[in-house]
Symmetry: C5
Subunit: 394 residues, 5 copies
């Protein structure tokens, strides 16, 4: 994303749903992976095309209809897991298999059009997929459910946000992730291990993906929290020189995350309110409520962090002003002490007549008076410099 | 607009809908352009009068009635595109043609009255059109739908806001744009190229205009975002002298934009809630929801910008206070070092007796002692000046 | 009003609706003007008493009943406009005439009681009328509709707020204005010119008065906006000494206005929601919605002003801190340059032996050495003073 | 109340409604006064016990039943006003008399239990009565209506808040006031004078008490407003040394008041919404709405004060920073002028040879040179001290 | 809890309700205590296992059914109070006994699974129990009601928050408290003393526990309030050096508490709205409303504290800036006085010719001139140091 605060957008005035890639976005090497599973089997085909997906979906639908229409035909297709460019096998038993198409990377204009044609995705949804940096949202088109989320990455490079789009269309779940960091690997692993994920419907798969996106922010916020605590310790003891910059950076990151988290919570709320047409079953809703709780908790953490960082900024301001007071107090004391003294020695020019009494500046007559004074002054300067350095003033 | 923060208004106590142009507004050279189109043809007549529009509308209505009433009469009128002062041709086939009257510039009192008389626009709506700087709003009069939006221009001249008023009255869409910058040119071009815009009804044209006004702010905000990022980089490294002014300017612009964007979102929301009498079809509502999402995204961006700019002001405050601390620390250190030294040399007046020992200020007896000291002091001053300039203190 | 921030109040514990004038309020010379009009005629009687009003109202009611009950009796009363102490003439034709009683100035306890007795106004409403500084509100008593608004005056004297109370009781509209500045003169003029105001009912008259009160604030806010822009220009270039005070004053004014504007908008909203018993017709509601839009726009402007003034305070804070930095930097540079130099000349006491070489301070031996040095120092001082004055430091 | 910000509470884990007095609260010398009145008579008994109240209430109820059940029995009881320990007389005519029991001071555990037993007050309500500093609230128990308010006292001692509890139970109104300042005396006086208060029911008495509590804050806020205006005048001209402390104190007081006023408004709102079981008649509701308006107005005033005080803090901050700038500017100018001069005189040590010319420091050879210079310096110092004192720097 | 601001969480992507203890949480030595009581008896068994609980519950259910189904069978089981590992005795009379299972400490994965299996707790609820630091919430599962609260501990160690989870399942109340401080001891004591707690149902026990958790924060807030008042007194008189740090700490604590208190109030509100399936009776709701009032009061206190602390920070800022002004004013005055004096004495080098007059610096010729001046300067320095120390500048 070129602009940290911005989002991609179509050139104003272009027809809606025109599927033109934004100028600054390179033709991504989006990779499609299709997973087909039911309670008994999992098969995965990598580097598929939208047209192949369409074919396999149609085949499965036909098989499903055959099964329900007549009787068990039982044309079992041996599932070779991980087999490339081979149609994933249909389940041995009746009951529709579930398809999960994962697109890694942002689709370019050509791929978007093919996805629209083959899988019947809505052009406005695809426009949102192509123009990254959308606000998290949920949209129920006639054709399918469309959800946009953001997943975040916080590392040495700072905060990076990636758009993740999810579609739920009958037995097909499509996930399109602009990031390249294997966000959904744990779901893939759970799928291969079996369990609830295999037995429940496509809505549960959708939930599992959403849950992962939401929970993905916990370790991230934990890292941020640790950073804030470090900053806090440093700052209340001895504010480092870059405290201001670090606080500013942290606050900006929190701000950007909150901008995503707020609507994300809203999206989950809309999903929870459970419009029937959305295709999310009652059983899945119980779990989704859990995700919602997590999203609220994240929001809560973000707000707390923000308030703590603001407090730290206040504390830094006060510390900085205290420090200034300290320095100026020293300056004032020194000045106030030496100014009258200097005035007095100025008055007398210290021209006391050594002849008038042996106590009158006998130093002036000493053979080494001058070098002794010079050396004394040098030592005094060195001492003060050492003292200031120790106090951290230099 | 004379006043940046203000809006034009009628003199208090004048009768409502009195159509008196505000004092500071010159009798604009408002130009009317009528476009007539159906699925097959587009014709455009420039510099038309409201009365001519009325005539052509009546003619089209009569033709339409004729068509639906009896049979296809087929009096095709050859459409000469761009032909001035000629009535735009009626469509060859039955089905009402759609009219788009675009007024470029703010109408004066005379034009407003003629628009009221010929096209039946509500006087309160026309009052709002004439008094620029209105808050974006939507009003459903008995006669027509009336929408006020603002479109913004951000260039070297700073931020300028122009009021754009839209009317939807049966088959007629009227757009009145106080700006002079061809805001709606892309729609005109899409019209001439055909496509959905030609096939769908006047509500879709209205949507296309609204969509353009909304999306028009994306490049503007992108430019602002880039400016903010520049400011941020500058500021955290070495705050430029005019940082304060630039931040203030930016915040004011954001404030003015937000003041428009907030009710604009509201207007879109009202349109979306889809009161039937508004004449906006279900098909168009899907697209309008997209515009609403964009408006929310813009609002979001504006809020984020505002918060970032506020953060930058805080950071500038802290940086400024840090800088002050640094300078005063140097001052203090120098003072604290030299004050005692000066006191000491004052005490002795450095009247050491050169006769008492050869180490006692032999410089005083040197032939070039004075010029050497003078030159040394000159060099010292030059060195310090060079150092301060390098540190940026001068 | 004695206290800027306060409002008048009854002594706690007095019976509600006791109609006792607050202590600090002088027995106002409230002047009553009764206007009687219908579509054909307008008549105005000044310095009337509540009892006279009651009489004329009863007469008109009787005439109206006579008319509707039997036939046109046609006892035309010649209306002498401006005729004092004469009953305003009844309309020539059937149809109830409309009465507008305007009270200029705050009524004292006696007048309030007579208004209550003669015209049947509710004692709680009259209590609010007498105790100025009420929050704008609308109250629907059994007897009549009661609305409190505030109108503002912003001139050399600062901001002054006056309470304006409106009653709507059948055909009678009563307006009581604590101010003395002919606020309603434009309505009076429009009445004499005829037009909608004469043809529509008492609710439209009420609207016209409300509209005037609302719109009255536009020029006021325009003046404030111009002042803010002036302040902004001054402040970003060279903050004047009284910037702080002016900003504070402005903010306080905005605060007081907002305190009135917020409930005023609410009142208009309540009127709009159109409880039937309020007696406001559908036709008038369309216009009232326009007033509501204006009230929202005013609120909007006030908020924007407030934010701009806050921004200006921030900018002033930053500018002040920048200025301090500049001054201290100069101080530091000068100190840092002269302190070592003074130390060095202190060391040598500049006792170079002129005898040791002709370059050793020959000035000391010059005949005009002392006056030349003195004059040079004088010139230097003058130069620096001139420089500082030019830089604005003195 | 021991803690300004706190409230009393039961030790956590004690049974609810256990009626244990909080540790820090002394066994108050709560005094009970029972007033019995109807349209014809008022009688007051001081220092009554709960049991006596119970007896008289039962007697009145029996009499009332007798009256309504059979016929007028007419056992008139002579009412001796102010008679101690005598049962207040029943009204001469049928119609229930109204009882008002006022408890001055916080009841201790024993009294609370007796109130519970004799008069049937709910233990949870009594717990709230005993634990002062409750949030204003309204609670409708099966037995009675229970309302908690706060009345405030603002004098030389600062702000003090007292809890006032009100019960409405049939014909009995109970008021328990932790303060000792005769808050309800005006009601007592109005009762003795007759009027509406005597004719209307117990709900109107409740209203009269509530109205007094609400209106009681007007003079208090007036005093605060006057103080704020004083502070404002002082501050914008010449900030006094204790401005910071006074502003802080004022803000804290406003904060504490607002904490009470906010729920107080809520309580009135709940009473207004007029749950039937509450026993507040329609006639009283009209008056209660007036009290609600007053509560809103108070809230409004508090908010305005708070904002003004915040503005004053900002202004003080800016004034303080301006002052600092002024002082430092003077310091800088003086330093910048004298530093080079002192350097120059240092260079020459002013050792000009008086012998070289008569203009070379002839002062050194004058007989009174030294005392003249000393006196001149003394005069200069005195002059500067006088000047600084006049400028307020010392 | 490792992180102050964080909460424990499952590794993203793990199956929901997987019951895996978070990495940083040691396998707690959770201790289970089962209490069985009815109106007549209380028995307590410590160190029980979930399976034992299940057994006793089943037994009691069977006995209950037996009783209600047929007749009184009366197999009284002697209750040995405090008897370890013995089933708590069933009540002598018909009527279900109530069970309270208290788990002290956070259960580890094994215990959680056994609780799920034996007592039928929902896995998602148990997941929340194991991952401490949850947001207070209420969840109504099919199986049981689940409530999460936080109880706080504020001592020398700062603020510590512990999660307390409550389950209500038929006659069984389960409380799981991560803290180890005998929070619920008062309830246990009241149980053994009898009273309402023994006579009312399990919902009343639940209320008693909730009430304790809520009220537990009153003493904590009282302590905080006292600290704030101390800080306030210190700060307005003479800001201590660590004021900034203490204010920051206090604000952070308040922030963390508020983050818990806000949803806690919400939870109580949900419980109050009284969904029937929750199993909370009408009688208990009256008491719960009391708890809700307390929670609101706590929230109120927290907000007030936060505002006061913010005010104190402002006051500290202003005090710090005032102090700086004072110091700089002194510096300036001293400088402004001594600089011209030093200049003057520099001019004359004080080389007045003692020979020209007896008043010309006779001190120079005194025998003890030099030591006298030196001693005087020493005394002056000592005096100034003493003065500065007394003023608190050193």
């Amino acid at each position: 994303m070129a602009l940290l605060y911005g989002s991609s957008y179509q050139i104003p005035g272009t027809s809606p749903g025109a599927l033109i890639a934004p100028a600054d976005q390179p033709a991504g090497e989006a990779v499609l992976t299709l997973t087909r599973f039911d309670a008994h089997k999992v098969a995965e085909a990598q580097h598929v095309t939208p047209e192949e997906c369409q074919g396999w979906l149609a085949e499965a639908a036909a098989a499903g209809q055959a099964v329900t229409g007549q009787a068990v035909t039982g044309q079992a297709v041996a599932g070779q897991e991980g087999d490339r460019k081979e149609p994933p096998p249909a389940g041995k038993h009746p009951g529709q298999p579930i398809f999960w198409l994962h697109v890694s990377g942002t689709p370019d204009a050509d791929l978007a059009r093919r996805l629209q044609d083959s899988l019947g995705l809505h052009p406005l949804a695809l426009e949102d997929v192509m123009n990254g940096g959308q606000r998290p949202k949920v949209e129920l088109y006639d054709e399918h459910l469309f959800v946009v989320f953001t997943h975040a990455d916080y590392s040495g490079l700072g905060l990076r946000l990636f758009q993740t789009s999810l579609f739920l269309k009958g037995n097909l779940v499509i996930s399109i992730d602009a990031g390249d960091d294997g966000l959904f690997r744990p779901v893939r692993e759970r799928l291969s291990r079996g369990g609830k994920l295999r037995q429940l419907g496509p809505d549960y798969l959708l939930y599992a993906l959403i849950d992962l996106i939401v929970d993905h922010k916990f370790p991230l916020l934990e890292r941020m929290g640790a950073e804030i605590e470090d900053l806090e310790t440093d700052l209340l003891e001895d504010p480092p020189a870059d405290a201001n910059r670090r606080l500013h950076r942290m606050k900006r990151h929190l701000l950007l995350l909150r901008r995503q988290q707020w609507p994300e919570r809203e999206v989950l709320n809309v999903l929870l309110r459970g419009d029937k047409d959305m295709g999310i079953g009652k059983k899945t809703l119980v779990y989704l409520r859990d995700s919602y709780d997590h999203a609220v908790q994240l929001m809560d953490l973000l707000e707390t962090y923000r308030e703590v960082v603001t407090e730290l900024q206040n504390a830094l301001m006060l510390a900085s002003s205290n420090r200034l007071n300290d320095i100026i107090r020293v300056l004032t004391v020194i000045s106030v002490i030496f100014m009258p003294l200097t005035f007095i020695v100025g008055v007398y020019g210290m021209n006391f007549d050594p002849a008038a009494g042996w106590l009158n500046m006998p130093e002036l007559g000493w053979a080494y008076g001058y070098p002794v004074v010079m050396i004394f002054m040098l030592a005094l300067t060195a001492g003060m410099l050492w003292f200031f350095r120790r106090r951290g003033w230099l």
